[in-house]
Amino acid sequence: MSASSLRSFEYLEGLPGTTFNRLYKQPSTALAIFRRMLPHLAKSFVMALLYISHPMPVTDLEAWVRPDGRRERDNAVNLLERLHILAAASNPGKPRAYALTNPFAASLRLALTGGGNHNSFGVPYNMTEEESMSIAELDGFARRQWEGVLGYMVGSTGMNVASDGVTLSQGVKMLLASGGLVEVRGRTVEITKDGFAFILQEVNAQVWTMLILYLQNAESLNMDEVDVLAFLFMLGSLELGLPYSKANLSQTQTNMLEDLGDFGIVYQASPDSSYFYPTRLATTLTSDAGGLRSSSLASSGDSSRGFIVIETNYRVYAYTSSNLQIAILQLFARLITRYPNMVAGKVTRESIRRAVSMGITSDQIISYLTTHAHPQMAKNQPVLPPTVVDQIRLWQLEGDRMKATVGFLFKDFNTQAEFEAPCRYAEEIGVLVWKHEGQRKFFVTRHEQVAAYLRNKSGKGG
């Protein structure tokens, strides 16, 4: 599971069962959850059970899976139950049997066969040729908006990122601040540790993170959670490059269009127009991350997806002219020269240490380098040179030499004997962390017993 779907999982699993029931009424939602959220084996189970009239006995399902696939089977069944897709019914006199829960099964069947009157796959809008937008234009729009959001965050680090004239709406800025990705201090904006982690993710994961922030804020804006989620899943099932009508959207969903436009997820000519276009960011919401990575959005400026080459001598070459990508790269690499289509630099101990001190982990750096590896590099197995990966990890570990322990310090003992007795006692009960005989100080993780011991002693003495 990729990071993005994990994140959306955690959110979905927290929803109450009734919300699921309402969500699954939309065929597009059922299809999107089936496609995006389920592991591969779970999909096979769902499909096998979809057109069976009677529940499938547990033993039958177990017999279908090979003995060495038991762990995968348990994982799949467990997840299906948590998402309220599969339910084990145990009728008296009959063996325990699995069946799909109803709103989900009915919706998925509708999605597969078509029909019904739910309009959940978007109503296309008829328009003349000259008005329509090309896919390239939509991609350009989506990229501009999304990089505007990222640029707003990165720009706060003091690196000069031209924002390409994109002005972010107040809503987006508030969302970033309330999600803890940036901190607004007066007029300056500072990126947080979470913000750095966010920047280094894949686009798809970033979009999901942002949308879940949006969902969490939805209630405070008087928006219905289910309405919002259903709309997001519907967006995922639309086709790129086609206009869709706004006629049958609910009020909440029409409001959402405006906010999503700020992220570049949908495009509408003006808030009053009667149609909207989903961009690539929207249509790949419910597809696997690979679909998006191969799109032109993952990197900017050039059309190939990866642009970073890193050699075993820690030199980094990035074929990009995007200020945003250069700024991100600068977070953890020392850039030396810049050419019209390429920057060259080096990953050094200082640059990694600086990144770590800003809250970026070595894993994030490595994952960023891997996802944006140049096609020529991506052919290698493993993609990144192992020495570089190891060294980046080691550089981070250097900083982890200190370990903080919460506890209590005892000091100011009058005599050596007075110090030694409780110190020995603390050591015996296993709470002593550190002691210094000369200064007569010692440090414990729990103080209650030691304090009682001292009280007893002083009571006896005096």
């Binding site: 057109y51 899976v65 597969l112 078509g114 597809s287 493993p382």
Partner: protein, 357 residues
């Protein structure tokens, strides 16, 4: 040196993290459209019902993964034809020259302006309309003269293999690089295509038997599939299919002979839907007793015991005329041919002895 190379764990962690989804799978369905055979089945499973079931199955396959692909090939009485995707005119023109990019464009670009329906997922509806119109076109073009009791499975298998090859080249070139303007990218080499990028498989819906006259081309495609690790799944609705059993057996595919043709969809969903990545964990149905008989090269008869040329391994049901191999022309010596009755006589004697004692 590999033993001391500690890069193993990088592969593992990166695989776990960066390739969470199994590779997209390409399902190539070969639909036997022989009108004779379907007419015989009309009481239990009419063609229209079978196609409706097939469409749901295709949609389910596409629902598995956003990048899953499907192709449907009709194996008709005398020819094989693509039902989906339909090669467009532009594609046919380019087929003579370099087809590399033209194919992709042509196959996707034939979107017919269909009645828009918000209740149907667009890609699903697209396939439905294309498939239905292609089938009706195919049947309209069928004349009574062209009717034979057989079907051109070999041609359809060959088409399927070419399509699979084309798609895996297209996929690997899009994943590695799109532009040659990039200074470090060398033009992708078709030979360097890794089979892991696409999970292809072939499903044959067989209704008619008597494939013996296509024995050699069928076996050739089977061996090609075996080499490319493409499983051939067989869904036998009717008819006798010696070689199709061998096909699924040799390529580790699924073989199901339908006992209740009305439950076609459930057979599809349970047996044929899981792709290679799920089949690792599942017990898939296979034929128990595989019929390994071969067809002779001279009369296309299925034989239990035959004659094999010692040079080229051609099979004959009876010694060829003049004892010359029809394939390689080698003059064969039959040796003590005709000694067969004598062997039988010996056996009889033994048995007699056994019964006597």
């Amino acid at each position: 040196m590999n033993a001391v190379d500690g890069s193993d764990h990088y592969n593992k962690t990166s695989d776990g993290k960066w390739h969470p989804q199994p590779p997209p799978s390409l399902l190539t369905i070969i639909l036997d459209t022989n009108p004779h055979a379907w007419a015989l089945l009309s009481s239990t499973l009419p063609l229209s019902v079978a196609i409706a079931n097939l469409l749901v199955f295709i949609n389910a396959h596409l629902a598995f993964n956003n990048s899953n692909k499907v192709a449907i090939i009709a194996s008709h009485t005398q020819r094989a034809e693509f039902l989906y995707p339909i090669p467009s005119q532009g594609d046919l023109v380019q087929a003579n020259g370099s087809t590399h990019n033209g194919a992709q464009h042509g196959l996707d670009g034939n979107e017919a302006p269909t009645a828009d329906d918000a209740n149907h997922y667009r890609p699903f509806r697209h396939i439905q309309t294309t498939l239905l119109s292609a089938i009706s076109k195919l049947y309209k073009a069928t004349t009574p003269e062209s009717l034979t009791p057989t079907t051109s499975i070999a041609g359809a298998l060959t088409l399927a293999l070419t399509y699979i090859n084309k798609q895996s080249i297209a996929l690997s070139s899009t994943t590695s690089s799109k532009t040659n303007a990039d200074p470090l990218v060398v033009p992708s080499d078709p030979n360097s295509v890794q089979p892991a990028t696409l999970n292809p498989r072939i499903l044959i819906l067989s209704v008619s038997g008597d494939l013996a006259h296509q024995y050699i081309p069928i076996m050739n495609t089977i061996f090609a599939c075996q080499r490319l690790t493409i499983p051939i799944d067989i869904c036998k609705i009717a008819g006798d299919s010696v070689f199709l059993q061998q096909a699924s057996d040799a390529t580790h595919g699924t073989y199901i002979a339908l006992t209740h043709p009305r439950g076609l969809l459930q057979y599809f969903m349970l047996g044929f839907l899981p792709d290679q990545s799920s089949r690792k964990y599942l017990v898939s149905p296979t034929a128990v007793g595989v019929d390994f008989r071969a067809a002779c090269f001279c009369h296309r008869k299925v034989v239990d015991v035959g004659f094999v040329c010692s040079i080229c391994l051609s099979i004959f049901c009876s010694p060829p005329e003049g004892a010359e191999c029809l394939t390689c022309g080698t003059h064969l010596r039959l040796g003590e041919y005709g000694g067969k009755p004598a062997v039988l006589a010996k056996r009889k004697k033994k048995r007699k002895k056994g019964t006597d004692e």
